[in-house]
Structures are given as C-alpha cells and as structure tokens.
Symmetry: C2
Subunit: 229 residues, 2 copies
DNA sequence: ACCTGAACACCGTTCAAGT
DNA sequence: ACCTGAACACCGTTCAAGT
C-alpha cells in the first residue's frame, strides 16, 4: 500500500482510536473505611515506584499489587484496569503542573511583557523538572492511555490562565489573543518535551533554560500589536 | 548477532528502560529469493494497514500476519519481534521527513534570514502533514519502541543540515550556532507535535501554519548577533 | 530456502470462596 | 466491607515438522 492511501483509511476509521472511554479510567469505587483508603494510596504509590524503578514496559498488575502488599483482586476492586492505575498517576502529575502555571499567571498579572514572559516560562520549566528532573515517565505513561479528555481539560485551564495574563500586559496589545495563547502554550509544552526526549542531560537542560525564554519573548514581541511600547 | 545472544542480553538488561537494543530491531534476515522479498513487503504494508485501521492498541502479531497472508512463524523469520515491525514503519517515515528537511536546507542555502526561516518551517510542516494530515500514528508507534538510537541518528542529520543553513545566512550571524540549531530544531519538532496532539482540526492546523513561522523568525532575529543587517 | 500452526510462557482480568 | 489467588482468555514467541 502506498502512503497516499493512508489518508483515506485514516479518515474513514478515525473513530477507532479511543480504546477506553475516559469515564472508565477513574477509580472504580471510593473507599469507605480507613483500611481501604490505605489500600488505595498504597496501590497509587506502588504504581509510581514500579514505574520509576522498572519502567513502563515492565509495569505489570501483579508487580504493582505485590509492591503495594495486596492481591491483584483487591487492586481490581478499586481500579477497573491497569490503565486506571496510570491514569491516576498522570492526573495528579498534570494537576501539579497546571496549578504551577495558574499561580504564575496570577503572580505576573499586569507585569510588563518581558517580565511576565520570563516568569511564565520559568514557572513551567520549574514545575516540569521539580520532582523528576529530565524524567520522561509522564510522557510514556500518557502514550499508553486514552488521555483525550484529561489533556483537553488541562489545556483548557492552561489556556484560560495564559489568555488572562496576556490581556493584562500593560506595554503591549494582541489582535488575536486566542492565536497567541495557542502559540505560547504549544511553544512551552512542545519545546520542553522535544528537548527532554532528545537529550535530558544537564547541558541540554541548560540550553533549554536559556533559549526557551528567548523564543517566548521574541515571539510575543513580534506578535504584539504595533510592537512593545 | 545470533538471536540466542539477544535473549541473554534481553535478560541482562532487566533493570533499565530500553528493553531491546536498537540493533535488534532491524529485520532478522534479508530475503534471498523473490518469494520472500514479497513476503517482507507484504508484512511491512500489513503493519501500516493494521496500524491505521485498528490502532496501536489492537495491533497484534497474528492480526498483522493474517492481513499479510502469512503465518506468524513466517513473520518471525524476518522480524525478530513485534517491535521490529513498527520500527521498520517508523524508520521509513522518519527518513522521509529528514530528507525533506535536508532538501529545504540545501534549497535555502545562502538565502536571507526571513526567507530561509519561512522555507525551513514550511518544508517541515509539509513533510509532516503530507500523507497523514493530523495523524498521530507516528507518535504512538514511537512511544512503544526503544527509539533512542533511531531518533538520535535522525536528529544528528537534522542538526547538521540546520547548522549549515544557519551559517550561510548573509544578513545575520550567530554567536552560538549549536545553541540556535538546538533551539530551532526543538521548536519545529516540539510545537508541531504539541499542536497535533492537542487539536488536529483544520482550524488548529491553520493556526500552527500561521504562528510557527512567526515564532521561528522572531527567535532567529532575536538570537542573531547585532540583529538583522 | 521458505513456510506452517500447535504449544508455551506470561499478563490482564474475573469470581467463587474466604475474613 | 474487604480481601484472596487460582482460573480464564489472549497475545508474543518458538520449534518440530512440512514443502
């Protein structure tokens, strides 16, 4: 088959991709007693441990259960399937990052263009690298899940915060705030990921920390109506 | 290398993320007769078909073999494991994209900053979107493989082409070409991926096509020594 | 030289039986 | 309520037997 045929096939079968509806990824039932609450957190932490020590490819349900000190059956009482384990971990991680972005956007509300650009970039970099410097674990986890809804929620919150920040800049105005918001968010998320995946050495991180603020500032200045005052 | 050696290596590598050494991902043996050449291409194309019609999660070895019209045993004669199937598909796809970048870098050799920036960005966008507009298939494939070496090779070729292009710009100079090359490459790869993953609708693609050239140009102007002549 | 497909090992998931 | 772990279905991989 030629690659040119792939487009048609792709469009015809576009709806096949989501394997598991997002709703089904949440914990199966809420714990009602102290004992089971401890079980749930133990499973949650065991997932993180196995993920970091053994890697995504060797993360099996029995291994997580063993690490958590429970049987597989117990695990399935609270998490409907393996994906739910990972979903919970990713959910928590993404929330931390989004909160960091929202806080930065609030802190730099009304700040001048260059200052707020650097503040936003550094806040994102710090959040991404705080606990897992150079770790690709979140990306490998996300790749195995149907994260459409989760990611969509996260991006909506992020975009709302960034748009409000951009609108508050005193020394610049933007004709199309939605487009600039999209560009800035894509720039942050994309470059950090691409950078980490290609090379997560300290030297590469240093490059990223130096060049990304430059990229963001330069773009914002170029995109602002009539340049910076 | 004998396959029995690989199994030992696999078990020795028990403690780290890369599950399979990249060398082992290539086809197991070269076909010596016309019949088996046809078999290999049939398997290769069947992998693409199953990937696009059923998605990564439902791509099984038996399904690919069935689609290719051969038995599983035959498949394993040419591809040492499932990952090798996907590796071959990804390898071909990435090569197409890299060639497109290299061609663009040659074409815009000696062109002025803005012209060459736009040329490079558009060449990358066209290559990524030519056959699979908005498709995430390459990313989902890559996520399941140990692609360290493959990606490393691709990035090396890309960086060499971009660095040569940057050095040839007549109306601007760069103090640290390596850093700017890293930044431009990361910007291209990262933003396109992040954009596609968040929203692959025509509207989002249009935004990307408009904002990415702006980002790249603005960054290059800002990074050039003493500004554009 | 190339192909076949039953057999094996392993993993995700369930459920009857326990406290 | 909560937990257990043998049992089941499915998938990646192999190998003795075929042409």
């Amino acid at each position: 088959m030629l690659y040119s045929d792939m487009r048609i096939i792709l469009q015809l079968l576009h709806s096949h991709m989501p394997v598991v509806p997002t709703d089904a990824l949440k914990p199966r039932k809420s714990p009602r007693q102290a004992r089971s609450t401890a079980t749930v957190t133990a499973i949650h932490e065991a997932t993180i441990q196995v993920l970091l020590s053994d890697g995504m490819a060797r993360l099996t349900t029995t291994r997580v259960a063993q690490r958590a000190g429970v049987s597989v059956g117990t695990m399935y009482q609270y998490f409907p399937h393996k994906q739910a384990l990972l979903y919970a971990v990713l959910d928590q991680y993404l929330d931390e990052v989004v909160v960091a972005i929202e806080e930065a956007c609030t802190r730099y509300q009304g700040a001048r263009l260059c200052e707020m650009s650097d503040g936003l970039v550094n806040a994102y970099l710090n959040a991404k690298l705080r606990y897992l410097p150079g770790s690709l674990a979140p990306y490998t986890v996300a790749a195995d899940l149907d994260t459409a809804r989760l990611i969509s929620d996260v991006l909506q919150r992020t975009d709302r915060a960034i748009a409000r920040l951009l609108a508050s800049v005193p020394d610049a105005g933007f004709d199309d705030i939605a487009a600039v918001t999209f560009a800035v968010r894509t720039l942050l998320v994309g470059t950090v990921r691409a950078s980490l995946e290609s090379d997560s050495s300290p030297a590469a991180l240093a490059m990223l920390r130096k060049q990304l603020p430059l990229m963001c500032r330069a773009y914002l200045v170029a995109a602002s109506r009539g340049g910076v005052a």
